[in-house]
């Protein structure tokens, strides 16, 4: 195995990890505010189709990404309205959102199958990207890859240090106490869920605009669910999201490189790896109830009503 191969493997890992980084970071914020949104898969699919469709028709990748962001927020708004205003069950509503998103994305994308767009351009940073080994490894990605990492840093800082971050955490831990001291619980939760939706939409669009520049029904292939598992893996801490996403990115890429690495395993079994890895990782993290209980927002999944 030569170094070119290692570079290619590691570099494609970043691409595969980025949708997960985006979707998990958004979901992490929503969950920190106490809302479990199981609709990620549906939001990512709608984001993927919205981004692809707008880019195809306008030729602008920027508008495509924006459309995905808005579409993700719109879907998250439906979820937030049902869960936060109408007090519906979060698990059932999240499942409904996923099923709706699968249907809606297939419907919207019915004429887009088989078309392609020019994928997101790589930002080849001058000089840096020509460095041996380090160059192709660190400095030859598109803007979203760098942006997603910067975003995690910002979210981590906001959650840990800022006033709004403190409020979001307070609302997720003890909504009734937060309400009692005058925090707008429902509004903070709305904002967190919308933020999560926007990022899930972007994550979906990264799939259809960068990773595989095309639209196919159900193209997220469970990444929304894996992103949900990532939040548990990260024990609700932003830095864990990056670690988890890149780990999973690596596992996902492994299936494409399996043959190249000389693994005599049918491709279907290699394709199972990300799903198997998700299960294994969940077991490892969850078997110790202390890690989970220490970090899981106390009111996660529970509805709040001020009265």
């Amino acid at each position: 195995m030569n170094s070119d191969y290692v570079i290619a493997f590691l570099a494609s890992t970043a691409g595969a990890a980025t949708p997960l980084v985006l979707a998990s970071t958004g979901e992490l914020v929503a969950e920190r505010s106490g809302v479990l949104n199981l609709g990620l898969e549906g939001i990512m699919l709608v984001g993927a189709v919205a981004g692809f469709s707008v880019t195809l028709h306008t030729g602008s990748l920027g508008l495509g990404l924006l459309a995905a962001l808005v579409a993700g927020m719109a879907l998250a708004l439906v979820f937030a309205f049902l869960v936060l205003t109408l007090q519906t069950n979060q698990v059932a509503t999240g499942l409904a959102l996923t099923l709706f998103g699968i249907g809606l994305s297939a419907f919207l994308g019915r004429d887009l199958v088989g078309q392609t767009v020019t994928p997101l351009p790589r930002l080849d940073l001058p000089i840096l990207s020509d460095l041996p080994f380090v160059g192709p490894l660190l400095f030859r990605f598109d803007g979203v890859v760098y942006g997603s990492l910067a975003l995690v840093a910002v979210v981590a800082w906001l959650l840990a240090k800022s006033r709004i971050g403190l409020q979001i955490r307070a609302v997720g831990e003890a909504p009734h106490s937060a309400h009692a001291i005058g925090m707008p619980v429902v509004r903070l939760r709305y904002a967190s869920v919308l933020f999560g939706g926007a990022l899930a939409g972007l994550g979906g669009a990264y799939l259809s605009l960068a990773l595989t520049p095309m639209w196919a029904e159900g193209m997220t292939a469970g990444r929304g669910w894996i992103a949900l598992a990532q939040v548990v893996f990260a024990t609700w801490k932003p830095r864990g999201v990056v670690l988890g996403a890149y780990l999973f990115g690596g596992v996902t890429v492994l299936q494409f490189h399996g043959q190249g690495l000389g693994l005599a395993v049918p491709s279907e079994f290699l394709s199972m790896l990300p799903y198997l890895a998700t299960i294994v990782v969940l077991v490892i993290i969850c078997r110790n109830p202390q890690t989970i209980l220490l970090n899981k927002p106390m009111s996660l999944g529970q509805n709040f009503r001020a009265d």
Partner: protein
Amino acid sequence: MPRLEARPEPSRAMMLASPLLAALAMLATGSLLFLFLGQEPLHAFYVYFIKPASTAYGVGELLLKATPLILCGVGLAIGFRADVHNIGADGQLTMGAIAAGCVALYFDGVEAPWVLPLMLVAGALGGMAWAAIPALLRTRFNTSEILVSLMLVYIAYLFLSYLVHGPLRDPAGYNFPQSKMFGESATLPLLVEGLRLNAALPLSLLCVLGAWFFCKHTFAGYRMRIGGMAPAAALYAGFSAPKNVWLAFLVSGALAGIAGVGEVAGPLGQLQPSVSPGYGFAAIIVAYVGRLHPVGVLLASLLMSLLYIGGESAQIELQLPSAITGLFQGLLLFYLLAADLFIHYRFKPRQRALTNPAEIPA
């Protein structure tokens, strides 16, 4: 927005009315969607919702498609009642189909009355085995059964794909990724001449009856219901939560597995790269729309089946995209959840301003 007021107790009337309200809202949205797609709404409505069920053949197809939904939906409803969320029924269905398919292909050419029962047992066991994984991980390691059962769906799909592309591919099948057609003894008998309706339907009705009896008249069913409604009370009474998880998963896994047998030994007659157009997921909607009640599930399955058939009919006659089916399914569940608000809340009447000083309490 008008203010909502919590009802002193849940409204029974709304509990029954909200699925109907949801169906009506879905139909109304559907008409708008037809209009948007440039169809004459009444005609599209007729083609989608009425025409498919207006012939004997259509009714047969309706019941045929409802069968796997009934089987999966009843199983899921039992679990949801106990707050156990098995959302991997499609994977359990696929594994049931694989297990039954293996039996059928192994005993290919054997004309014996025991082949079909053996397939049913194998299918139920296949579904149960697949469902046992999330149950085990949840009870032993506290792992979310939602995520694990879902991951297993993708693994089951890939396993089936491997089998029909590899070991179980029909050598005489012109390289198509599908197994040999099953023999006569491995195919479910048809109920009515000229229809594709088969013996899986009465079997599913028996399961509804069994589930109803289980929920209503057995202590285990009672324990599960309490576990879902009042976990603290269940704990206090010494009811075992792990037992509920196991029971919920094994029952729904077995039923989903049998649904898988019904597909491969029924309309498909062989193993194909995909044995289910998402019946296991549609069954989640069925379970909720059916109010987690076996009889409700039966009715909701018929509605959901009509959505599938209507989608096919609209695709052929109106050139509408088939994805419309999924859209309607999702909408139905959304509307149901929204309508459920009125079970626990009602609009607060506007407070009458007190103008007469005599009315002001001292």
